[in-house]
Symmetry: C2
Subunit: 121 residues, 2 copies
Amino acid sequence: MQLKPVCISEKLEMFKDQWSPKIIAQVNDHHLKVVKFQGDFVWHKHDNTDEIFLVVSGTMRMDLRDGPVIVNAGELIVIPREVEHKPYAAKECHVLVIEQEGTANTGNAGGSRTAPGDQWI
Amino acid sequence: MQLKPVCISEKLEMFKDQWSPKIIAQVNDHHLKVVKFQGDFVWHKHDNTDEIFLVVSGTMRMDLRDGPVIVNAGELIVIPREVEHKPYAAKECHVLVIEQEGTANTGNAGGSRTAPGDQWI
């Protein structure tokens, strides 16, 4: 077995599509995914997993039913399971998401913004 | 419930002790910990959890029985369960560790370098 480092910025350079998380690492039953956000997403929640959004570059706004939270590069926010949320970014923002494997980006909402949940890069 | 962002660099400024991981976030049954490395650690393995080491600043060397792997800032390495490893850093290096909750830093080795596994900051 050859263990190699994974460079986050190199992984982000490998794709341009937004709102389509790509898996870059696995720790037990959890995935680390990189994703590019710009504009607005859909309100949704995940019934079976918490989610961490760690901002790698740019700034995102996490809309919650209680109001928005700004998350800057170098910061993370934990969204507990069952909490409705909607990511937004005025300019393109790059984010590392940590969540249980098999999690769909649109959670309970589904619909056309649902991305494949199993894309490794 | 008020959800607030967690700033990784602010958490790292809150302590000076090395080799003593501090929990900054939880996602399901996994912890995110920040830790400062300098010098050599002990060979060990974890029988029940994979581990991710994401280098926030500086450079670390992960010694493996097959040879060393250099991990620079912005890179991560996954150490699968049961794989012996020994972190090393010539200069102080700041790392984000992701692993199952309840994991001791020295794994199966134990000994005087074992840090409390439940320190939140």
